[in-house]
């Protein structure tokens, strides 16, 4: 809780800078308009206008807040204009993708720690796979999956999974290799099987690493879903909302969708953090 004050202070500064930037960036338009209309504007008129434009270059914080409020609290959550509705669409694909990505990442990590050919062969390609611009291939993936008769939630989830499997795999490989030589030797003196070593030593000691990468993974998964929502016929979800805001130059709508997405990401990370705390405490690893 001692973090509240610093965070508030920083937030306050950000909001102040934001307002200043909004005035500065939107002023050009106000002046240009006045110019076209052939009128003079005073500074206070400029300020009032820049903070309330319909299509600002940078919307003012209160505009974004009002839009957020209007599209969450004041709309039925089943309405297409409700951010809760779109958030839920995005969230469900994110969670499914996260589940797929985590499973794949863990399995890959297990494979890598148990099979040298996999370690040598797969790892460089896994790294290369992450340098491919996902936004470029997302539409193709969706088309290919569509042609295989898969549509709806799953193509989005697969792209989400593609982005989240990597951090999970990397963290998990580190985690499964975390036991030191002595801990492993202990298992050998018991003549423990590979299986026993895995369940009783490698898996528990990988937990802190796993959770650290799950936090990265869940955020990546959300990004993946949003990316996948951009071209996928841009229908529902926060990504579609971002894009449609973008077609019509609705900056306020873009920013509010953006904030909704960031809030969603932050909540997901916090939830993973809470699960981490509980698990590690149960395991006696959170001192």
């Amino acid at each position: 809780m001692r973090n509240i004050l610093p965070i508030l202070t920083v937030l306050l500064v950000i909001v102040a800078v934001w307002y200043a930037a909004a005035i500065k960036m939107n002023a050009a338009w106000t002046y240009a308009q006045a110019n076209r209309a052939g009128t003079e504007v005073t500074f206070s008129e400029v300020v009032r206008d820049t903070l309330n434009q319909e299509r600002p270059v940078l919307p003012a914080p209160h505009q974004v807040a009002a839009e957020l409020w209007a599209t969450t609290a004041q709309k039925k959550i089943t309405s297409k204009r409700s951010l809760v509705f779109h958030g839920w669409v995005t969230l469900s694909a994110t969670l499914l993708g996260f589940a797929i990505g985590t499973t794949a990442g863990i399995l890959l990590a297990i494979g890598i720690t148990h099979n040298r050919a996999m370690e040598l062969g797969v790892m460089p390609w896994a790294i290369a796979s992450q340098t491919i611009p996902i936004l470029a291939i997302a539409p193709m993936i969706i088309v290919v999956l569509n042609s295989m008769g898969i549509s709806g939630l799953i193509p989005k989830s697969i792209i989400a999974a593609y982005l989240s499997f990597f951090p999970v795999a990397v963290g998990m490989v580190k985690g499964l290799r975390a036991p030191d030589a002595m801990q492993l030797d202990l298992m050998r003196t018991y003549s423990a099987s590979d299986n026993q070593t895995f369940w009783k030593l490698r898996l528990p000691s990988s937990m802190p690493y796993l959770f650290a990468s799950l936090k990265v993974g869940v955020a990546a998964s959300l990004v993946g879903t949003i990316v996948a929502e951009l071209p996928s016929g841009a229908t529902r979800g926060l990504g579609a909302r971002l894009l449609s805001g973008s077609y019509y130059g609705q900056t306020v709508q873009i920013w509010s969708a953006l904030f909704a997405a960031a809030l969603l990401a932050a909540s997901l990370v916090i939830i993973v953090g809470v699960i981490e705390k509980i698990t590690l405490r149960k395991m006696g690893m959170a001192a």
Partner: protein, 258 residues
């Protein structure tokens, strides 16, 4: 004549490293009988740990022969003949003390009831009853070390390998644990191999003291202790004790100078 429990002859071990090979053990010959308490002493890096690891089949000698109970070390390991206590306690931090001690029992598939019974017994033995539900980091270093000994005692290994188990403890605690260890050895008749840096500790505990010297690690002296099995702490002030200690010190010093 009865067969030795551990029989090393001409054991040699060279580690292949990136730069130069390290000759860690050279022509090690040693017989250890059932019920012996053998201490290994020698300067840092002389191969004490390596030798213990060879016995436990954690390393494979590159030469010579080594048998344990007439089997190869690896077969003996598969027969679960070893209890190994490492220099650091090495408890698993995510398990309570109780569950740490249960670990080998789970792996070896003991029935539930017997597990509980054994855990209780060894916790008593190392004076840790009441701490079973604590996590390792809630205990002091000395208590952790005792828990790790309890873990090695929980199952019926007839050979106990201990690598500087008391290195991190202060003298008083160490004395107490030394006494306890002797009692335990007396009661169970286990064969114990014990690595230490402390001359008095080696002399106080052992029936046989193996002095080693480095580069390459080899045995320079094996001293059979004439001390009785029953050893009060005060025995350390007797002339016999001092004499053996002197001989060990001389052996060690020689090793240092070569």
């Amino acid at each position: 004549m009865k067969k030795p429990v551990i029989d090393a002859s001409g054991v040699d071990l060279t580690f292949q490293t990136k730069d130069a090979p390290v000759h860690a053990l050279k022509d090690v010959n040693l017989q250890i009988d059932k019920g012996d308490f053998v201490s290994f002493i020698g300067p840092s890096g002389c191969g004490k740990t390596t030798l213990l690891r060879c016995i436990a089949a954690l390393e494979t000698p590159t030469g010579g022969s080594l048998t344990v109970n007439g089997l190869s070390p690896d077969e003996a390991r598969k027969a679960r003949s070893y209890g190994y206590v490492f220099q650091a306690a090495g408890l698993y931090p995510w398990r309570t003390i109780e569950k740490n001690i249960k670990l080998p029992l789970e792996i070896m598939g003991y029935p539930k009831a017997e597990m509980d019974e054994r855990v209780k017994r060894v916790l008593d033995l190392v004076d840790l009853s009441g701490f079973g539900k604590k996590f390792p980091w809630q205990l002091s270093g000395g208590m952790q070390q005792r828990a790790s000994i309890a873990r090695a005692l929980a199952f019926d290994a007839d050979i106990l390998l201990m690598d500087e188990p008391f290195g991190a403890l202060d003298e008083i605690v160490r004395d107490k644990l030394n006494e306890e260890l002797l009692k335990l050895w007396d009661r169970t008749g286990k064969t114990i191999c014990f690595v230490t840096h402390s001359i008095p500790e080696a002399v106080y505990l052992s029936t046989k003291i193996v002095v080693m010297s480095p580069r390459p690690g080899r045995i320079t002296d094996v001293i059979e202790s004439p001390l009785p099995r029953e050893r009060p702490l005060e025995i350390r002030d007797t002339p016999e004790f001092i004499e053996i200690a002197h001989r060990v010190r001389e052996g060690l010093r020689e090793g240092h100078n070569t």
